[in-house]
Subunit: 200 residues, 2 copies
């Protein structure tokens, strides 16, 4: 199978796809898409993903799969990055849905407003800060007695949550008080294929 | 296995769990939780889900699984509600992540503001309307040549998206112009286990 990723290097949702491909040593091509220049709203992009968002994984240039965490599942199912146990598999999805609903919508959006749009006085930021710190608290309590989010090994749940958490400072978040999150970030940083996401 | 659902009957995220259990004819108990009375913020609830949200699936009263779409996957993996083909499985997740990120956050939130809080002049509603209609448009285009979201049979992607779509009117949305969505709603309504969600 050949893979092409349509993504933006400074987007966490895209960076998690890159890290998964690198961890699994799967060959791929990267096509850089600038969402701020409207490149996800062109007819050719919308033909790949009518929802107009990166990343999109092109499979053999015939099938197009959007939604970052669905791409991670597609690439990693059957590898050590997705556990074999049925409940553990559901727990991987639990944390990936948490990431998209409770984490990304606060921490990534705050980063977008501050680091991409340079709007440090945006009226949405206080509420996003509150929700982002709540998400970091949930992660910290879960990681108190655990090395990884599910089971005892790295999974795509860790890669999904690592993407925006390791750059939360760019959204105005101080992660230092969340000591179990900090220790987990260090642990994931040293895993194969994991890399620091470029700043905007 | 014994299942207990901690959920609120008028919540789409909870109703999708109920429909999946009913479709699969799995026995379960339902414990009604009133989120507006703070019942998801008690110590005993937070011990089940530190993120403080319904639904939670209790498995044999020893394991607690939050996140509606992770619960659907857990219950349905290995049944006809989750396809066997690898790419089709990822597509089910694609649409469930779309549901949580692009659909629920607009259509369910607008319904919450209007039907639960009775705030029909809330300043967030215009933006939520715009995003909700965009999500309905994405669904409508996808369903133009399809009976179900993935493959040719009902899956948990349909049940997940049905939950808030069939009550979108309570969020102030007129679904009638989205003719493929309307036909799909009729189709899903007649499937085993599918039921109309109670209004608040």
């Amino acid at each position: 199978m050949s893979y092409v990723v349509y993504g933006m290097a400074s987007s966490g949702n895209c960076h998690k796809v890159k890290m998964t491909l690198e961890n699994l040593r799967l060959p791929y091509q990267w096509r850089e898409i600038d969402t701020l220049k409207g490149e996800t709203r062109t007819p050719s992009f919308l033909a790949m993903n009518s929802n107009g968002k990166v990343p999109v994984l092109a499979i053999d240039q015939t099938q197009y799969l959007p939604e970052s965490n669905a791409i991670l599942w597609f690439l990693a199912e059957g590898t050590p990055l997705v556990p074999a146990d049925k409940l553990d598999r559901a727990r991987v999805l639990q944390w990936m849905f948490f990431e998209q609903y409770s984490h990304e919508t606060a921490i990534a959006v705050a980063r977008y407003i501050r680091a991409f749009l340079n709007q440090h006085d945006d009226s949405r930021l206080p509420e996003l800060q509150k929700r982002g710190y709540a998400a970091l608290g949930v992660m910290d309590r879960h990681l108190e007695a655990r090395d990884y989010f599910v089971g005892s090994a790295l999974s795509i749940a860790d890669l999904a949550l690592f993407a925006y958490t390791h750059k939360a400072d760019e959204g105005g978040f101080d992660v230092a008080p969340y000591k179990s999150v900090v220790a987990w970030l260090d642990r994931v940083t040293s895993a194969p294929g994991v890399s620091v996401m470029p700043s905007p």
